[in-house]
C-alpha cells in the first residue's frame, strides 16, 4: 500500500517490534483494551524498566486513551496493547473501559453526549 513514510511504525523493522514485546505478536481479539480504553498510571517509572513501559507511565499520569498512547509511542496499536497488558498485569496502570455498548441502549449517556457537543 502506498502512503507517506512518516506514519508511526512504518519505518520500524519487524525485528524492532519483535524485540519490544519479547517476541509476542498477538494482542488479538481477547485483548482487554479497546482503542478508547483510558489508561491511568498507578506508579512512577523505575530504573531499569523497559523504556516504552516507562514512557507509557509518564504519558498516563492523566487518563490517556490506548490510541493516543500508540500515536505518541509511534507504535502500531497491537504492539501498544501488548505493552499495556504487561503494565496492567503488574498493577502499574489501571484501565477505564468504555461504558457504551452498541447493543445496550443507554439513553442517558447519549443525552450527555448531545449536551457536550452542543456546548462545544
Amino acid at each position: 500500500m502506498s502512503g507517506p513514510g512518516s506514519r508511526p511504525g512504518r519505518d520500524d523493522s519487524p525485528d524492532r517490534l519483535y524485540t519490544l514485546t519479547g517476541g509476542r505478536s498477538r494482542a488479538g481479539t481477547d485483548s482487554p483494551f479497546d482503542l478508547v480504553t483510558l489508561v491511568v498510571a498507578e506508579s512512577a517509572p523505575v530504573p531499569g524498566m523497559q523504556s516504552e513501559h516507562a514512557a507509557i507511565l509518564r504519558m498516563t499520569e492523566r487518563p490517556t486513551a490506548v490510541v493516543e498512547i500508540a500515536a505518541e509511542l509511534r507504535l502500531p496499536v497491537g504492539i501498544t496493547k501488548i505493552l499495556l497488558a504487561d503494565l496492567l498485569a503488574t498493577g502499574r496502570v489501571s484501565a477505564r473501559h468504555p461504558r457504551h455498548q452498541a447493543a445496550v441502549p443507554d439513553l442517558e449517556l447519549l443525552e450527555q453526549v448531545l449536551v457536550g457537543l452542543r456546548n462545544l
Binding site: R7, R10, S25, V36, P63, E68, I79, R99, V113
Partner: protein, 206 residues
Amino acid sequence: MDSATSRASAPLGASASNGLKIVVVGGFGVGKTTLVRSVSEIRPLATEETMTQAGAAVDDLTGVTTKTATTVAFDFGRITLDARNVLYLFGAPGQERFWFLWDRLFSGTLGAVVLVDTRRIDDSWYAIDRLEKHGTPFVVAVNDFGGPSFTPEQVREALDLDPHVPLVSCDARSRESSKLVLITLVEHVHTLHAADRVRPSRQELV
C-alpha cells in the same frame, strides 16, 4: 496552520473515565481528516494497526515476509464532552480492502458519519452497505466541494439510501458545520435507541 493544540498541552482531566467512538468513513480525499480536525481539541494524530486479512490478530511479525500482513493508517481526534466522557473521532479509509479494520473500529462505536463527495458518489456505496450489514447507526453528510449541487432526493436515490437515514450537507472545514453533523448522528442514534426501548424486538437486528 493548526489552530488546535498538540496533545501534550491538552491532557484529559483526572476524572475522565469513559471513552466513546464515532467513525468517519468515506472515499479517499473526501475530507475525513478535515472534518476530524475542525472539531478536535487536539491536532489530529495518526496511528496504525497491523493485521492479517483474516483480521483475527496482529500478524506474526517473524513471518512477515511470508504472510499478507496489512498495515492501515488512520487519523483520530478528540473532544472532551464533560468531566467523564471523552469522544474520539476516527477517520477510517472506506475502501473495500480495509473491511477488517472497519470491523474492529466499529465494535462499540456510537455510530458513523459517511462523508460523501457528490462528484464521486459511488465511493460511498461500499461504506453504506457495510454499515447496514453491521447494524451500525449512521448519517450521510455531503461535503460541499463547490461542484454541481444535487437535491437531497437525487443524492438519496444515487445512494439508494433508506428513508430513515438522515442526510445533511456540510462544510467539513467549518467547526460549526462539522459539529452539526455529529449532533445529527447522535440525535439519530438516540431516536433509534428510544424506539428500541418501545419495541424491544428491534434489538435483534442490531
